[in-house]
Structures are given as structure tokens and as C-alpha cells.
């Protein structure tokens, strides 16, 4: 199969790009594309066409994925053709050229039903694969089986596959290893197994422990009971020993209480309470005394105060006046400043007025107010003035510009005239040139081609004539040559001599047989000889001619042929001459038509071709003239507009000036005022008015201050009269007011004192009343206390109370003693204690107690402790056996490790088996294919290395393995390790090509797709490789994709068995 067309309808950077691989043979087709030009895209497109688009494509940046489309045409060896398209779709991606779904099996039959992966492996090679292949050969140490197998299957890294199988198996298990995954898992399994054994609790262990603990608990109960009994006895005795002293003390106290006898037991606190009341009564009496003294004092003070004064009634009015005094003083202060400001403002106003109208006094200034009222109008007009000025100057400017442009156009016009003159053939006004009715360019072009055709005819006729002439001359020369080598007899000549002979015979016969007189005729026949001689001579002559004719038959024929040639040529020449005549006539006719065409323009035309150029130039010139006329019209219009605008502006300015004059009359100035002056003038005037206004405001404020001062003075005067200080009239205002203030303050102080005395007196009287009542009540209570203690006098009371206190103390101690006994007895009653105590030997008691305590402490308690500890230990042990899932967890871990061991072991087995089978098959393949393929490869290798290595052979390495070696021209052997990496790449390529060639013998060819494998080859080997590929191309199509221009250049010079074609993308 071969690919005859690849169409990148929408793919990568391409749109509708067509590559046609047309050649008689399969051919070497080199697709060149610089970087980014789409070399890789086109390679991918080819793969997509043949085997479909990959799920993800980098070629959808210009056309969307669902728009991607490639198409192509394949041709099978038997001549069948298949044109089809492929789009990017999961299903039905294959279409025929009309867009109908195409059965993939049809395409598959063209591709020999090959799997895409296998196609890529067997019929594709790129630079990386080449390098890998070379490296792999080195890694195999040139092992023949692997090299052949790898090249045969299109695998560039077979060694890698083999070692990956081995390495993976090795990483899983090694007999003596420790780090391999299975070894690790086995070790873990062993450890877990041990751990499980250690953790597992057997049922026997549990039962024994349980029984032992139960026994111990029983013993503990017994020992504890004994200890409790002994301890109780010890504690009883201990109690008794403690109780003995208190029992004695109790008896003593009882006796003492009985000794005190019977008496009235007054309340304990009665004396203290009486003393407290007595104290209070004394204090109360002192208080009464102090109050009486103070009362007398107050009465004296009150009588010393002066009588009430009238000034108090005016207190508010006076304070009001005092407040106003502040304002008065400030007013006086301000007045001075205000007066000064007013004067300076008026001075400034006068100055400003002077700038406008020096002739006017400040008082007359109001005359100017109307002008200020029109301020806005005046300012607006000033603004308009500027606009008018601007307008004027713009109009002038435009006029100038128009004139300038007119000059440029005049220049252009002159240029056009000069060009017209130079163009020749027609002269006249420019405006007429525009109107000139030139023939249509199409017409002229018609004449050009007719002209050319006629000229061509003429040339052809001439050439024909020349050739005929030449042929004629040659034929003539040949004739001459034949003639010059000897006379050439002709049939005509033979005929004429025979005629003469026959004529002689007829005469002779008449003379001889009929005896007629033929003398005259005989003389006429031959004047020199008599008839018989003449006849003889003619017979001889005829024989000679006939003989010569026969002898020179070849020359005669040649002569006749040349003569025929000459005649034929003459004939042809006649015809050609006729044609020449026709052509000239046609030419004359065309010339006539041609000149008639230009008649209306008054132009004597040159040849149509020249006229075509002339017309083109003339049309360009006409275009320029048109342009010139259009511009001239524009400039004229512009000039007119400028003039109109100028006059309009001037009129507007006049109008403005009249209004301006009217507006400014109010200023009363006798000179013309410029708009530019106006703002200043108006500002000055306005400032002047504003100053005057400010001065007026100040004047009014000063008057206000004076008015307030006068009112205050009147009020003060009236007040002085009211409070009876008439004598102070005429004093300055503020002094009078201060006097009033002093008077008021004093009157107020007196009144306050009077009020305070009154209050204190009232309080004192109340206090005295209360104290007297309290004193009465205290005396009553003291008397009642004495009665309570059954005493007549206070002195008796102390003694009675002291005796009661003694009795109470003894009773308290008795109670404490009994409490202590109750505590010691811990529930045993005092009576019971006394009873037991009577029966006990007091001295033996401590000894008994000690011996009991010792027994408990030294024997029973340690026993209990030991037992408890043991029980604790057993319980802890049993606690540990709590049904925990610890062992179960370990079993789970074990199960997990087992699963791991199983998986890894299975994987190990698979890998081992795979490696083994692959090695065996490699060896098998070698045994079968070594000889034929190596022979083919040897040839390629020698070519590719330019004879540096002339042959490939097998040898045997140290281990007895067959290996590949190269042979130098001097028969020296080179192992793959001794080859350069480039040479190894070429070795791999040779093996690949050999396999391809070998496969060609049995399989239909498929295109060999080569992707830039020449990158690292030097120029010579590059050429050699291209030559090898070109040779291969005679029987198998080769598509070489490259980025390198150099390769393309070299390929152009290659001459191989197959054809070479180059395509630039």
C-alpha cells in the first residue's frame, strides 16, 4: 500500500492543505517544515488519518475538536484505491468523500489489518527510538538474539523490558535478601506469629488464676476477722485508761458544788448592766449643762446685730446694673477702634474713587451707581469683543491658507503639463486631455493579443520558410553531390536512347526490307555516320545506358529520391509563401483598424503593446489632472468662504462698538475705554462702594454704643436716690456702682447671721427637752435592776454577783469533764465506765494494751497486706484477661500480611515466567532469522557507515553468547562497545531496514514513516542514509518528516533507485 494524497482539511495550523504524493514508484517523500510550520502536526495528521484521532489532541487550537478533519487516498499494490476522510469522533469517524460512514474494515484491508501500535513499531522510526535502539544494543552488549528480536518487533528498548522484569522480580524476592518486599513481608509474618502466641491467653491459664484468687480472698476474710476482734479489745482497754483521771476529777467537783450551799442566784450580767446605765445618766447630765450655757451666749449675739436695710430690697436691680457695667466698659473700649476703622475705610474709598473719577468728591459717588448696575452687560460685551477679534483673525488666516494652497496647485498643474508633454503622442489643454475619448483598455489589450498572434504567426511562417529553405539547400547539395560523382543515368535517358535506337532500326528496316529511300532521314538521324553504323552506335549506346542504369541502381534511386525531396520542398515553400502573404495582409488590415481606433483622439498610435503602456501612463496622468481640478475647486471655495467670513466679522465689530459706547456713557469719562480695562475699572468702583458701605455700618455701631452708655448712667442715678446714697450723685458711673455693690454685700451678711442664730436657739431648746426625759427613764431602769437582784443599794449588788459567778464556773468544769468521759467512752455510759473502772487493775492496763497493739501491728496487719497484694496481682492479671481484642488484632494484621505475601508471590511468579519465556523466544527468533537478516543488515550497515565498517558478523563473547560485531576494511573486528554512539544508531537502523526489507518478501509493503532521524548524523552519513532510503523507496514508500533545510538540500542531489520528492509545509 502507499499513500497518494494527504489532505489536512482542518488540522493543527492547516486549513485545506493538500499533499499529493504522486510518483511512478512508491518513492521517498520528504516533508519539510521549519519549527512551528506544522511538521509534527502533519505527522500526527497522517497517523490520525490511518488509525483515528487520539482521545486528547494538541491539534485543536485553530479548529475545534469536533471540526478536525483529515482526508487522504491510499493505493494498494493491486491498484485498488481508497479515498476517505477521518474526523475526531468516538464512533463513525471514518467517512467516504461524500461524507457517508465508511466501513472500517475496508480501510483495515488496505492496512493489512495491522494494529496501530504494531504499525507504529514496525513502520515508524523517530530520532528518540533510534537513540534508544542504539543504547539498547550497547546495553545488550550486542547480543544477537536481542538485537534481532528488538529490530524485528520495532522495539528500541528490549533490554529495558527484560531488565525491568528481572529487576521487579528481584525487588520482590531474593533467597538471601532481607529488604525485598516478600522477604520483608515474611519477616513481618514471623514476628506477628510470635506476637500472637505471646498475646494469646489459654483457657487453662485463666482458670488457674481464677481459682488461686478465690482461695486467697477466703484466707484474707479470716485474717481480717481476727484482727478486728483483737483491735476492739485493745481499744476498750485504751478507753478505760484514758477515762480514769476524769472520773476522779468529776467526783471532786461534785463535792465542791455541794459545799457552796443555797443562795439567790442573780442574773450574771445584772451588775454590768447597772454600771452601764449609771454611766449613761452621768453623760446626760453633762449635756444638759452645756446646752444651757450656749443658749445664753446666743441671745447676746443676736441682740448685737444691726437692723434690716432698704438696700436689700434693691438687690436684684443692683446686680443687673453691675452686669451692664461690663458691657458698658467693653463698649467704651470698642468705640475707639471702630472710629479709627471708619476713618481709614472712608480714606480708602476716596482713593479708589480717585482712580476712576478724580474729579468727583466722595459725597458725589452715588452718581456712578447706575454704571455698576450694568456691570454684567459690560463684562459680557468685553468677552464678545475678544471673540470678534478671534473671528476676524481666523477669517484672515483662512484667506492666507487658501492662497498658499492655490500656489501648490499651480505647481502641480505645471507638473501635469510637463508630464503630458513628456508622454508625447498628444498635446493640448489639460482640460481637453481629460475629455479625450481614448479607446477602452480591453480593446487595446484585444489588439495586443491579435498583434502578438499575427507577429507570432509571421515568426512561425518565417521560421518554417527558413527551415524549408535550409532543407531545400541541403537536398540540392545532396543532389549535386550525387551528380558530381558521375553522371547519373535516368529512365528518361534510357527511354530516349532506346527511342533513337528504335528510330534507327525502323529506318534500317525500311531500307533493308522495304528498300525505301531513307537517305534524308538517315542524315537527319546521324549526319556523321551512315545508317548501319549509326544504328549500331545507337544500339551500343542504349545498351551502355541500360547497363549503367542497372549498375548504378542505388545512385539512381538516391538521385530520384533527392529530386523528389526537392520537388516536395519547392511545393511546400510555395504554400508557405502563400501563408506569408496572408499573414502580411492580415497585418495590414489590423494596422488599418488600429489606426482607425486612435483616429478620434488625433493620435498616431505606436504598437498596441506600447500603446497599452502609454494608455496606462496617460490614464494615471488623467487621474492626477482630475485630482488637480477637484482640489482647485476646493481651494476656490475656501477662499470665497474666508472673504465672506471677514466682512461679516467686520460688520459685527462695528455693531459691538456702538453698543459699547452707549453702555459706558454712565461713567462720565471723556475718553474711549478699552474692554480690557473694564474689569479693573468695575472692580475698583465696586471696592469703593463696598468700603463706603462698611464705613456706614461702623458709624451705626458707634451710635449704638453711645446710646447704651447714656441709659446706664440714668439708671444708676435713680438707684442711688432709692437706697439713700444721694450724696454720691456726680461720682463717676463705675465708682457709684462699686459703692452700691459693697453696701449690698454687707446687708446680706448680717441677714445670714441672724438666721443662723435663730435656728441654733431652736435646736438647743429641743435638745434640752429630750435630755431631761431620757435622764428620767435611766433612773427608773437602774432602780428596777436593784430590785431584780434583791438588793437595797447599789453597793450590795457587786458582792451578790461575784458569788453567783463562782458557782457557775464549777458547774461548767463538771460538764466539760463529763463530756470528755463521754467522748473517751465512745458510747459507753459514765455509770458503766465507773462500774468497769472499779473492777480493773489500773496498773496492769498499759501492759495489756501494748501486747494487743504489738500483735496487730506485727503479725495481723502485714498478713493482711500480703494477702491483699497477692489478690491485687491476681486481679490485675485477670483484668488483663478482659476479653480484649489484642490477639484478634494481631490475627488481623497476620491476615493482611498473608494477603500481601500472596499478591507479591503471584506477581513474582508472573514476572519470572514472563522473563523466562521472553528469553527463550528471543533465542528462538535468533536461530531462525539470524542468517538472512544479518546478511541484509550487513549491506545497509556498510552503506550507512560509508564503508568504515564493511560487514556485520556474529561472534561469541566470553560467556559463549552470540554477539554482533562490525568488521573494518582491514578485517579488524569492532564490538558494539567499541563503536561510537552514532555508529550504534546506524547499526540499529540497519537492523530495522533489514527487517523491513525481509518482511517485504512475504508481506505487502506499508509506508515507512521516518521522523527526523538524521539530526545527529554527519553530512556524509546523512547523505548515505538518504541514499539508502531512496533505494528502499523503489519498492516501499518512505515518508521522511524533517525540520532541517540541510536534509532537503542534500536530498535534492540524491540519486537512488527510487524517486525523491520534496514538499514544503
Amino acid at each position: 500500500m502507499r499513500i497518494t494524497r494527504l489532505e489536512l482539511k482542518a488540522f493543527g495550523p492547516f486549513t485545506d492543505r493538500v499533499l499529493t504524493f504522486a510518483a511512478k514508484d512508491p518513492g521517498l517523500h520528504i516533508l519539510f517544515g521549519a519549527n512551528e510550520a506544522g511538521k509534527s502536526s502533519s505527522l500526527r495528521a497522517l497517523k490520525a488519518l490511518l488509525f483515528g484521532f487520539p482521545e486528547r489532541t494538541p491539534d485543536n487550537f485553530l479548529h475545534a475538536s469536533d471540526q478536525l478533519l483529515v482526508s487522504g487516498c491510499l493505493q494498494a499494490e493491486d491498484g485498488r484505491e481508497l479515498a476517505f476522510m477521518r474526523r475526531k469522533k468516538r464512533k463513525a469517524d471514518l467517512l467516504d468523500l461524500s461524507g457517508n460512514a465508511l466501513d472500517p474494515s475496508i480501510l483495515a484491508s488496505f492496512l493489512n489489518n495491522i494494529d496501530p501500535g504494531l504499525f507504529a513499531a514496525l513502520y515508524g522510526i523517530d530520532h528518540e527510538a533510534l537513540i534508544r535502539g542504539g543504547e539498547d544494543i550497547l546495553a545488550q552488549k550486542g547480543e544477537v538474539g536481542q538485537a534481532l528480536f528488538a529490530a524485528g518487533a520495532g522495539i528500541s528498548s528490549l533490554q529495558k523490558i527484560l531488565s525491568s522484569l528481572d529487576d521487579e522480580a528481584d525487588s520482590l524476592f531474593r533467597a538471601r535478601g532481607t529488604k525485598q518486599e516478600i522477604n520483608v513481608a515474611l519477616a513481618r509474618h514471623r514476628d506477628l506469629h510470635k506476637e500472637l502466641k505471646a498475646t494469646s491467653l489459654s483457657s487453662r491459664e485463666w482458670r488457674e488464676l481464677q481459682t488461686a484468687r478465690d482461695d486467697l480472698e477466703q484466707t484474707l476474710l479470716q485474717v481480717e476477722a481476727e484482727r478486728n476482734l483483737k483491735d476492739r479489745t485493745r481499744r476498750q482497754k485504751e478507753r478505760l485508761r484514758h477515762a480514769m483521771p476524769y472520773l476522779g476529777q468529776r467526783r471532786t467537783l461534785k463535792t465542791q458544788i455541794d459545799g457552796l450551799g443555797q443562795f439567790f442566784l442573780a442574773p450574771e450580767d445584772v451588775y454590768t448592766r447597772w454600771q452601764g446605765l449609771d454611766q449613761e445618766a452621768r453623760a446626760m447630765r453633762t449635756q444638759l449643762e452645756r446646752a444651757g450655757l450656749r443658749l445664753t451666749e446666743l441671745e447676746a449675739l443676736a441682740s448685737a446685730l444691726p437692723a434690716q436695710q432698704p438696700v436689700l430690697g434693691e438687690a436684684e436691680a443692683i446686680e443687673d446694673l453691675l452686669q451692664k457695667l461690663g458691657a458698658f466698659r467693653k463698649g467704651m473700649q470698642d468705640r475707639l477702634g471702630l472710629e479709627g476703622q471708619r476713618n481709614s475705610l472712608r480714606a480708602e474709598a476716596a482713593l479708589l474713587l480717585g482712580q476712576v473719577r478724580p474729579d468727583l468728591a466722595l459725597a458725589e459717588v452715588d452718581l456712578l451707581r447706575p454704571v455698576l448696575a450694568k456691570r454684567r452687560v459690560i463684562q459680557q460685551m468685553a468677552g464678545q469683543y475678544e471673540a470678534l477679534q478671534q473671528r476676524m483673525s481666523m477669517a484672515g488666516q483662512q484667506g492666507l491658507e487658501a492662497k498658499q494652497q492655490q500656489k501648490t496647485l499651480d505647481e502641480a498643474r505645471r507638473g501635469c503639463l510637463i508630464d503630458l508633454h513628456r508622454l508625447s503622442l498628444w498635446q493640448g489643454e489639460l482640460s481637453r486631455a481629460v475629455m479625450l475619448p481614448l479607446p477602452l483598455p480591453e480593446t487595446v489589450r484585444g489588439f495586443v493579443s491579435a498583434w502578438e498572434e499575427l507577429l507570432e504567426q509571421g515568426r512561425a511562417v518565417k521560421q518554417e520558410r527558413d527551415e524549408i529553405q535550409k532543407g531545400r539547400e541541403e537536398a540540392f547539395a545532396a543532389l549535386q553531390k550525387i551528380v558530381s560523382s558521375g553522371e547519373v543515368p535516368t529512365e528518361t535517358e534510357l527511354f530516349s536512347v532506346r527511342e533513337r535506337r528504335d528510330q534507327g532500326w525502323r529506318l534500317l528496316r525500311r531500307q533493308w526490307l522495304e528498300h525505301a529511300d531513307v537517305a534524308v532521314e538517315a542524315r537527319a538521324y546521324d549526319p556523321g555516320l551512315d545508317l548501319p553504323d549509326a544504328y549500331e552506335k545507337s544500339v551500343g549506346h542504349a545498351d551502355v545506358v541500360a547497363d549503367r542504369l542497372r549498375r548504378d541502381a542505388d545512385r539512381v534511386a538516391l538521385f530520384a529520391a533527392r529530386q523528389a525531396d526537392l520537388e516536395r520542398l519547392d511545393n511546400t515553400l510555395g504554400k508557405v509563401e502563400g501563408k506569408a502573404g496572408e499573414q502580411e495582409q492580415a497585418m495590414d488590415k489590423l494596422l488599418g483598424q488600429w489606426q482607425a481606433l486612435w483616429q478620434p483622439c488625433g493620435i498616431e498610435p505606436l504598437s498596441p503593446k506600447e500603446m497599452l503602456y502609454w494608455q496606462n501612463s496617460f490614464e494615471q496622468l488623467r487621474f492626477r489632472i482630475d485630482e488637480l481640478h477637484r482640489k482647485e475647486r476646493e481651494v476656490q471655495a475656501k477662499e470665497n468662504r474666508a472673504a465672506e467670513e471677514l466682512s461679516a466679522a467686520e460688520e459685527a465689530l462695528g455693531q459691538w462698538q456702538r453698543q459699547w459706547h452707549i453702555a459706558l456713557t454712565g461713567l462720565g469719562l471723556d475718553r474711549e475705554i478699552l474692554p480690557i480695562e473694564v474689569p479693573d475699572l468695575l472692580d475698583t468702583l465696586e471696592s469703593c462702594f463696598s468700603k463706603i458701605k462698611e464705613a456706614e455700618d461702623l458709624r451705626m455701631r458707634i451710635e449704638g454704643i453711645d446710646r447704651d452708655a447714656a441709659q446706664l448712667a440714668d439708671a444708676v442715678q435713680a438707684m442711688l436716690v432709692r437706697v439713700g446714697l444721694d450724696g454720691l450723685a456726680g461720682q463717676p458711673l463705675d465708682q457709684s456702682l462699686i459703692m452700691l455693690q459693697g453696701l449690698l454685700t454687707r446687708a446680706r451678711q448680717d441677714r445670714t447671721l441672724q438666721e443662723r442664730y435663730d435656728k441654733e436657739e431652736k435646736d438647743l431648746r429641743q435638745e434640752i427637752r429630750l435630755a431631761e426625759a431620757t435622764l428620767g427613764r435611766l433612773n427608773d431602769r437602774m432602780n428596777s435592776l436593784l430590785a431584780q437582784a434583791q438588793c437595797a443599794f447599789p453597793e450590795e449588788l457587786a458582792e451578790t454577783v461575784a458569788k453567783g459567778k463562782e458557782l457557775r464556773g464549777m458547774q461548767e468544769r463538771l460538764r466539760e469533764t463529763e463530756e470528755t468521759l463521754a467522748r473517751i467512752g465512745e458510747g459507753t455510759s459514765i455509770t458503766e465506765l465507773e462500774r468497769v473502772a472499779e473492777a480493773v487493775d489500773n496498773d496492769a492496763l498499759p501492759g495489756e494494751i501494748d501486747s494487743l497493739a504489738r500483735e496487730i501491728k506485727e503479725e495481723l496487719d502485714p498478713g493482711i497486706k500480703r494477702l491483699s497484694q497477692k489478690i491485687g496481682e491476681h486481679s490485675a492479671e485477670l483484668q488483663r484477661m478482659d476479653g480484649s481484642a489484642k490477639a484478634a488484632r494481631i490475627a488481623e494484621a497476620l491476615a493482611q500480611v498473608l494477603a500481601r505475601i500472596r499478591r507479591l508471590s503471584e506477581q513474582y511468579v508472573r514476572l519470572k515466567l514472563a522473563a523466562k519465556i521472553l528469553r527463550e523466544e528471543i533465542e528462538h527468533y535468533r536461530a531462525v532469522h539470524q542468517d538472512p537478516i544479518l546478511q541484509l543488515a550487513s549491506g545497509f550497515f556498510s552503506q550507512l557507515t560509508l564503508g568504515s565498517l564493511t560487514e556485520l558478523r556474529t561472534d561469541v563473547d566470553d560467556q559463549g553468547q552470540p554477539i554482533l560485531v562490525g568488521v573494518r576494511p582491514d578485517r579488524a573486528r569492532v564490538t558494539v562497545a567499541g563503536m561510537s554512539s552514532g555508529t550504534r544508531d546506524q547499526l540499529y537502523l540497519s537492523l530495522r531496514l533489514a527487517t523491513l526489507a525481509w518482511r517485504l518478501r512475504t508481506n505487502e509493503p506499508l509506508p515507512f514513516i521516518v521522523d527526523d532521524i538524521l539530526i545527529n548524523f554527519d553530512d556524509d552519513r546523512s547523505r548515505a542514509t538518504l541514499k539508502v532510503l531512496a533505494d528502499l523507496a523503489a519498492s516501499n514508500q518512505v515518508l521522511l518528516f524533517t525540520h532541517h533545510r540541510q536534509i532537503v538540500n542534500e536530498a535534492r542531489a540524491i540519486e537512488g533507485l527510487g524517486s525523491v520528492h520534496i514538499y514544503e509545509l
Binding site: 482521545e55 518487533a153 483457657s203 480484649s884 493482611q896 498473608l898 500472596r902 515466567l913
Partner: protein
């Protein structure tokens, strides 16, 4: 209406098999699975306020020695005692071999039936008579059911027995008997144990294998639990299956037909596993992924199964608490193998050699004697399991041959110059 629970084959503390720990695997999900499932059973009994609980044998694995398992069992029995739920137990083949069962002092709510002859317990308050007999030996080959007493017509009669009935695949044929033997006793309900697959053998009378309580390996897929039986007036009213397992096993067949890229493979697997996750409720899943179908990605899968294992496990974990037990690559190439290897290529030769390889254990060890070293080091459990390592079975060797063939073809094609 009164109810009782019927469970069997608890295999307490028996570990889940075939789950290899890998990074991020949900270890917590499988830890103590049988214990947790057993706790679910106890909770269910208490929650449903059942009248009694029947355990039809195989409480523990026969070779399991840790007495803590027994203590755990006793603790849970005591719990039922607190709720006044009696428990009736017959021992199974595993229990007969177990040290734990023999030593276990059980609380008074638990009745263990004799192993010497059939025994009957009558619950007069409920009108229920339970007949049962346990295994004395691990291999009980006699027909125990035949010796059971005839039904007491005054009671609702239950037979409690550990048996393989007339034989069930994958189960030892212990205490063999026929359905006819059982029917002839005239009981209302036969509570059987031993067969791990739940099965209602018959409804007149009811003959029920509840299946085991918790699946423990990939052959024990699907929901596991106990049967909750409602009865009234001497008749079974309803038999309801309660799912009590804490982790579910599943075989996930995934069809990868036409898959060309990793994304589409992931999408199919995600979808297939997702369905199983939904079915399992909130339980974790342990699953075996079986990839099948003819697909363009076939070679890529087989050339690097390790990588795919990791990626698919990662994917499964992303979907929830999922433990991938194993992934079987059973996909096929899209083209016929002959077309893939081409004509007269080394690959074609390899394929012919592989196809011609008659592999069995003997031939294998002859080819690779070094594997015997590994074999001698492997733990004996690997050879005693239900799927022993390097078995004699011809299917195994055919499978291995296939796998190696796929591996080699895929590796060689993947490393071709065109890839």
C-alpha cells in the same frame, strides 16, 4: 407477637482474609469486624425484645486459641442476661475443635445442648420446645437430625442443628441429612447453621440457613446477618433477614468496552463502585474489581498493572470507606491478537510459543526451579487456604499463562518505537 433471633457461624475474632494493608486503606473499617457484628446481633436482640436467641454453631474458629475471645463472648451473654434473654447454642464443627468452647463458664441464661444425644428444652410460658444436639467431634459424619425426637404437638417446635444438609458447595459435608429427614420430625422451624450463604431451604416447615454474621473473605459477598422470626399460635408468621454486618464484600464487574483513556476507565469504575457503595448503606466496602470488555486501553492496563492498581485504589478510597481486595485485569484487546502481533514478527512467534505452552505445576517448576526456594519460605497457611498458592488446578495455570501472555504482549507493544 413473640419473636426470636436465629444466627449462626459467628466465627468470633476470625480475621478478614485477603485484605492487604496499603497506604490509606481504611484499617479502622475492618478492625474487630466479627466482634462488632456480634455486638450488632446483641443490640438487635435487646432492641427487638426477642424471647430468645438461637446460635446454630461455629461461635469460634477451631484453631483460635485466645481465651479473650471466650471472655468477650461471656460478657455479651451476661449482657443478654441483664435483659432476661435466654440463649440456646449447639456447637458446630469449629466449636468441637475449639479449646475456648470447652473451658467457658457461661451465665445461667445460656443453654448449650448436649453433644451426646438430642436434648429438648421447653419454654412453657411461650409454648416453645427447642430440640438440639451439638458436635462432639470436628468431623461429624452421622445423620444427627434423624435421631431428633418427634415434635411435641402441644408446643411450637424448633430444631437447632449445625449441618450441611444434603451438601453445599464450598462447605464440608458434616451431619449430612435430607430435607425429608427434617420434615419427618414435624417441627415448625429448623434453625440451621454451617452454610455461610443465607438460604431459606423451605417454608413448610421453615428450614433456614441465616448465613454467617459477617462476611470474612471475597467468597462471602452480599449482606450478612441473622433471621428475625415472628411466631404466634404455634406457627411462623414472618422470617425477616436483619443485616448486621459491619463491612460488606462485593465483586464489582466493570465493563471497560471502548475505553481509550484513563479518564473513561476512572469514570466507569467510579460508577460501578458507586452503585455498590449505595447498596451497602453506610457500611465500608471490601471489593474485588474485575475489569472486563474489549478496549483500546487494554495494553496500557496490562503493561503497568501495578500503577493501575495504585490509581484505582486511590480512586476507590476517594469514593468512601472502600478497601480494594484485588483488581483482576480481564480486559481484551479490540483487535484479534493475531492482528495485533502481525505476521512473521517476533511478537507473532512469542504468541505462538505462549499458546503452545502447556503449563502445569510440574512444567512450571521445571522451567523455573528457583521458585521452589520461595515456595519453601512461604507460611504454611498460604497452602492451606481455600485458594492455595500454586495449586494443582488447571484453571490456575491457564489463568497464569494468560496473564503472562498479556503482560508480555502489552510490555512489548508499549515499548515499540511508535509508542
Amino acid at each position: 407477637m413473640p419473636r426470636f433471633l436465629h444466627a449462626a457461624d459467628i466465627h468470633l475474632d476470625s480475621p478478614l482474609k485477603g485484605l492487604e494493608a496499603y497506604e490509606d486503606a481504611p484499617l479502622g473499617a475492618i478492625r474487630g469486624a466479627t466482634r462488632r457484628a456480634f455486638d450488632n446481633l446483641i443490640d438487635k436482640a435487646i432492641e427487638e425484645e426477642v424471647c430468645f436467641l438461637l446460635l446454630a454453631g461455629d461461635l469460634f474458629d477451631g484453631d483460635w486459641k485466645d481465651y479473650n475471645t471466650g471472655l468477650f463472648f461471656m460478657d455479651r451473654m451476661s449482657r443478654l442476661r441483664k435483659h432476661n434473654i435466654p440463649v440456646f447454642i449447639v456447637s458446630g464443627n469449629h466449636d468441637a475443635a475449639s479449646q475456648i468452647t470447652k473451658a467457658m463458664p457461661l451465665p445461667d441464661n445460656v443453654t448449650v445442648f448436649s453433644t451426646r444425644q438430642p436434648e429438648t428444652v421447653r419454654l412453657d410460658a411461650l409454648g416453645v420446645a427447642i430440640h438440639g444436639q451439638g458436635y462432639a467431634l470436628r468431623t461429624e459424619n452421622s445423620n444427627l437430625a434423624a435421631r431428633f425426637p418427634l415434635a411435641d404437638p402441644r408446643y411450637f417446635n424448633i430444631g437447632l442443628l449445625h449441618t450441611s444438609l444434603n451438601g453445599r458447595p464450598g462447605h464440608e459435608p458434616y451431619a449430612p441429612c435430607s430435607f425429608e429427614d427434617l420434615r419427618a420430625r414435624g417441627y415448625d422451624y429448623w434453625a440451621l447453621g454451617h452454610v455461610h450463604q443465607r438460604e431459606i431451604v423451605a417454608e413448610t416447615p421453615w428450614v433456614v440457613f441465616p448465613g454467617n454474621l459477617q462476611g470474612r473473605c471475597i467468597r462471602e459477598t452480599g449482606a450478612k446477618g441473622a433471621s428475625l422470626v415472628t411466631f404466634d399460635e404455634g406457627r411462623v408468621r414472618e422470617v425477616e433477614h436483619c443485616e448486621l454486618d459491619v463491612l460488606r464484600w462485593a465483586l464489582v464487574q466493570t465493563d471497560l468496552s471502548d475505553c481509550a483513556g484513563a479518564e473513561s476507565v476512572f469514570a466507569r469504575v467510579r460508577q460501578a463502585i458507586g452503585r455498590r457503595i449505595d447498596a451497602a448503606g453506610d457500611r465500608p466496602l471490601a471489593l474485588r474489581l474485575i475489569l472486563g470488555g474489549a478496549c483500546p486501553i487494554h495494553n496500557e492496563l496490562h503493561a503497568s498493572t501495578r500503577k493501575w492498581n495504585e490509581e484505582l485504589r486511590g480512586l476507590a478510597m476517594g469514593l468512601g470507606e472502600v478497601w480494594v481486595e484485588k483488581i483482576l485485569f480481564r480486559t481484551r484487546p479490540c483487535l484479534a491478537l493475531d492482528d495485533i502481533v502481525g505476521q512473521d514478527t517476533p511478537l507473532a512467534g512469542l504468541l505462538r510459543a505462549m499458546e503452545g505452552l502447556a503449563l502445569d505445576r510440574g512444567r512450571f517448576l521445571e522451567l523455573l526451579p528457583e521458585v521452589e526456594t520461595l515456595q519453601s519460605r512461604l507460611p504454611p497457611e498460604l497452602f492451606m487456604e481455600d485458594e492455595p498458592f500454586l495449586p494443582e488446578a488447571p484453571e490456575f495455570w491457564e489463568g497464569l499463562r494468560q496473564e503472562v501472555q498479556e503482560l508480555l504482549i502489552a510490555k512489548l507493544l508499549q515499548h515499540g518505537d511508535g509508542s
